[in-house]
């Protein structure tokens, strides 16, 4: 996937994932996905639970749980992250490649002061004195708008609210010089009123630093308001991708269309869907997806040919891809080019 | 959080929190080895009623302190000329007897207490748990020593003391497991039919926590063997001439410089039994809750 800002932004993608496979035991949970994250772009990775989106993120970070391993490649700054050893990975992790986790309640060490937790990242990656690291940590906590940052430096995580903790986790992610911030459902565990603040904070900080953002979520509205591009994941595959606005207005994969139809209203003023639609059936368990097109057992357009592996095809300017034998809005698009499965 | 609260939490990691239904069960090496050892002990104890190589209490001074394999004494003889193998075989009876009764006492008192605490909550739960907090910190051996002091030493004192000392452990495990069952929907359903708490506990909760209790009982059995051995060694458990492994070790101490094997065999019998029951406990746990075994 290439963004429409590529012309202005000449550097290559900050991350290029190719044929990423993550297997749980003998069952692949991520089935050979490929995508680029262009420098400075905010990309949403959308999917229901069980679609493999978190595993994708963890394999890029090299933080897969014990017993799981990833194959394929994830190229960052010329290095394949999947083949680096722990020490090489640690150079990159926390500095150029950072992550914001879903559960702010458990993501912070309960017995360590938050100031120390933030300062620790700085001292790992920068040759900073204790005092310098502390100053920098304070500045970061101020940047993430942690109220009373100076006194909170000495607080323990349990003394903070969920939203405040997530601000600290974001500060951790910004402590280095991140080229890419991966945020895995960063607001799911938070109160609705706090969610928007945290998302806006993430977006603004990524924009200020010219960092790319990979935002993992199941919430279409979040993607619509934060991300320029979107990747739609289902059953361990990326079934559609493109600029957010374009994909949401003209979904080409029946699953994407179903997702969008299931949301009451994406943007004010759009009243095309009088009734709330649902996708029939439910997400199969791991290893229970059908062969061929993973969505065919729930798809109203499915035919016999869907039993075969669908090709991923792109439109002419290669801004959008879809992996479907019966894509919607076919006539609206230009020539279809095959880009491989 | 009180001190023992945390301990139990840690213990719980080693025990099935909830019965696992429909999980793939696997018979691990633990279960096989532990089962084999425990069956071996039970078989030996039963066999000793009908047959031992020699009369275990027969004193023959001329045959004293014989080495391994002399004149048919497979493991030699002790300072009275008694056959060590026969003594160990009969000692297995004593070990099993005390273990069964001590664990029995712990279960008979501990399960209702724990169940009561889980069913009633409130001040009843609070007082049961505080009481067991106090008891928990109090080692079984000390309790047994006190009891022997008051009642006079003997197998019964040892058994009661060990059993009572394990009541708080059983009560806590029962409460922990029962609480999670009490929170399930089918208990709520049963309550909505107006079933009494006792009925619900016996009919619904107990069967569901039985696997936890079986595992706990096996582990306690191993502890009881150790405690009994220590008490008999101090002269506070089985009284002579009743053969007991711990007692044999005490008697061996005087002659250990002459013949180390005197101390080795009864000690090995104890250690192997404890390993057996521990492995059996682990094996049963793994079998009943494969998910937990994998996590571990």
């Amino acid at each position: 996937m290439t963004g429409d800002q590529e012309v202005e932004n000449n550097s290559g993608p900050v991350l290029r994932v190719q044929d990423l496979v993550v297997a749980v035991g003998s069952t692949p949970a991520v089935k050979g996905i490929s995508f680029d994250i262009p420098s400075g772009r905010r990309v949403g990775l959308i999917g229901e639970s069980g679609s493999g989106k978190t595993l994708t993120a963890l394999s890029i970070m090299g933080l897969l749980p014990d017993g799981l391993s990833a194959t394929g490649s994830a190229i960052h700054a010329g290095k394949n992250l999947l083949t680096l050893n722990e020490n090489e990975l640690c150079e990159i992790r926390g500095d150029y490649l950072t992550m914001v986790f879903q559960e702010p309640m458990t993501a912070l060490n309960p017995v360590m002061r938050i100031g120390d937790q933030v300062a620790e990242v700085i001292r790992i990656h920068r040759d900073a004195s204790r005092a310098e690291a502390k100053d920098r940590a304070l500045a970061l906590l101020k940047q993430v708008h942690l109220p009373n940052a100076a006194s909170r430096m000495r607080a323990y995580p349990h003394q903070l609210s969920g939203g405040q903790r997530q601000r600290v986790v974001i500060a951790l992610a910004l402590a280095g010089d991140p080229a890419l911030i991966i945020a895995d459902e960063p607001t799911t565990a938070l109160d609705v009123t706090v969610q928007a603040q945290i998302l806006v904070l993430l977006r603004d900080l990524a924009r200020q630093r010219n960092s790319s953002l990979l935002l993992i979520t199941h919430d279409l509205a979040v993607v619509a308001s934060i991300c320029q591009d979107v990747l739609v994941m289902y059953g361990g595959r990326i079934i559609e991708s493109g600029p957010t606005r374009d994909v949401f207005d003209h979904p080409r994969h029946p699953y994407t269309a179903g997702l969008i139809a299931a949301v009451p209203e994406i943007e004010a003023g759009q009243e095309r869907r009088p009734r709330l639609a649902t996708i029939p059936g439910s997400v199969p368990g791991l290893g229970q997806f059908p062969s061929g097109c993973v969505f065919r057992n729930r798809c109203q357009y499915a035919t016999e040919i869907c039993g075969e592996e669908p090709q991923t095809v792109a439109n002419q300017d290669r801004t959008r891809t879809v992996s479907c034998f019966h894509p919607l809005h076919d006539s609206a698009e230009g020539t279809i080019i095959e880009v491989g499965s | 959080m009180s001190v023992t609260e945390a301990v139990i939490q840690l213990d719980d990691e080693d025990q099935p929190a909830a019965p696992a239904g429909g999980e793939r069960r696997k018979v691990g090496a633990n279960l096989i080895i532990g089962g084999a050892i425990v069956s071996g002990i039970v078989f030996t104890a039963l066999l000793s009623f009908f047959w031992t190589p020699f009369d275990p209490t027969e004193v023959a001074i001329s045959d004293r302190l014989m080495g391994v394999g002399w004149e048919g004494h497979v493991l030699g003889t002790d300072h009275f000329g008694r056959d060590i193998l026969s003594q160990i075989m009969v000692g297995a009876r004593n070990t099993l007897f005390i273990g069964i009764l001590a664990v029995g006492i712990a279960l008979v008192i501990g399960v209702p207490l724990g169940g009561l605490a889980a069913a009633r909550r409130g001040w009843i739960e609070e007082s049961v748990m505080r009481l067991s907090d106090v008891m928990y910190a109090f080692p079984a051996i000390l309790l047994a020593i006190l009891l022997s002091a008051a009642r006079g030493p003997g197998t019964t004192s040892a058994m009661i003391a060990i059993g009572v000392a394990y009541v708080p452990i059983v009560a806590r495990v029962t409460r922990g497991a029962a609480l999670s069952v009490f929170q399930t929907d089918y208990i709520a359903a049963a309550q909505s039919y107006g079933r009494g708490r006792t009925y619900i506990f016996l009919r619904h909760v107990l069967p569901n926590i039985s696997s936890v209790l079986i595992v706990q009982a096996t582990v306690l059995f191993a502890l009881a063997i150790l405690a009994e051995a220590a008490l008999s060694y101090l002269g506070l458990g089985a009284q002579p001439p009743a053969p007991s492994w711990g007692r044999s070790l005490f008697e061996a101490q005087t002659f250990i410089r002459l013949k180390a094997s005197l101390a080795i065999f009864p000690g090995l019998a104890i250690a192997i039994s404890v390993v057996g029951f521990n492995l059996l406990g682990d094996g049963i746990r793994d079998y009943l809750d494969p998910k937990l075994a994998e996590k571990e």
């Binding site: 060490n109 620790e120 | 023992t4 939490q9 080692p139 020593i145 410089r257």
Partner: protein, 292 residues
């Protein structure tokens, strides 16, 4: 403690007199001992005495109990301390090592060893140690205790084997707890966060894992110390050390009930004291408890 002894059946007077007990003898002795009074009165008397440091006089030897106990503590306390120290010094590195090599050969080896350690009765280990290390190889003294006044290095030597026997079992149990606590902590989200920050797995364990794992381990340490104190009773008898435990067993053999009562009181107080200490240490380690 008092109540256990007072309420349980068994009359100390007839015990002491044994076969020579006649009703008149028993009654006279009961009066001498003060146990003809009602139980609450006895209790108040005993509590009052205990609080003023007067534990009374032994029924049997007519010795003052309080100095007897302080004397014996000079053996038992160092023994328990050395035992605990050895157990901790072995168990913490072994448990952490096993957890960091989860399911590898090192982990299996530690697990098997600790399983064996748990299954060995401490007094048996003591017997074997005396037989081989002391008697056969003559490296260390087999038993007895010269007394601190006599020779400090020699006294320490006499405590080595007893401490090792105590530590063997306790260390094995502790190792298992440390391993499982560390394994549990390694699965926590904050360890993943630490690794996402750029810490290696090992550094994340040392910097973030250990202090969290310490919380359950400290609890176990408290209980272990209680078990260890009980263990000294047995071990002192194996090594013929003039400690509290040996005195306790001798007192039982002589039916010296007041001495038994006072000794168990001291041990129980020590156990309760340890638990209190554990609660205090808890507060130091876990900031969540401080503000609650």
């Amino acid at each position: 403690m008092f109540w256990v002894l007072a309420v349980l059946p068994g009359d100390p007077a007839s015990r002491i007199l044994g076969t020579q007990a006649t009703p008149e003898n028993v009654a006279r002795l009961r009066q001498d001992l003060g146990i003809d009074r009602s139980i609450p009165v006895q209790y108040l008397d005993w509590v009052g005495g205990t609080l003023t440091g007067d534990l009374g006089t032994s029924y049997v030897t007519q010795e003052e109990i309080a100095p007897l106990i302080t004397d014996r503590l000079k053996v038992t306390v160092p023994l328990a301390f050395f035992g605990m120290f050895l157990a901790t010094a072995v168990a913490i590195p072994a448990g952490v090592f096993a957890a960091s090599r989860h399911r590898e050969a090192g982990d299996t080896a530690v697990s098997v060893l600790s399983q064996v350690g748990i299954s060995i009765p401490a007094f048996w280990a003591g017997l074997l140690l005396t037989t081989y290390v002391a008697v056969k190889w003559g490296i260390l003294p087999a038993n007895g205790f010269p007394g601190w006044g006599e020779s400090i290095p020699n006294s320490i030597k006499h405590l080595i084997l007893p401490s090792v026997s105590l530590a063997l079992v306790q260390g094995a149990i502790l190792t298992r707890y440390v391993r499982s606590a560390v394994l549990q902590v390694m699965r926590e989200d904050y360890i993943r966060t630490a690794r996402a920050k750029g810490l290696t797995r090992q550094r994340a364990l040392w910097r973030h894992g250990l202090r969290n794992a310490a919380i359950p381990v400290i609890t176990i340490l408290g209980l272990q110390l209680a078990a260890l104190l009980a263990g000294t009773v047995v071990i002192e008898n194996v090594f013929v050390l003039p400690g509290l435990g040996r005195m306790l067993v001798q007192a039982i053999e002589r039916r010296d009930l007041l001495l038994v009562q006072s000794t168990t009181l001291i041990i129980t107080t020590a156990i309760l004291g340890v638990n209190l200490l554990v609660d205090l240490i808890y507060n130091l380690v876990d900031p969540r408890l401080r503000t609650r």
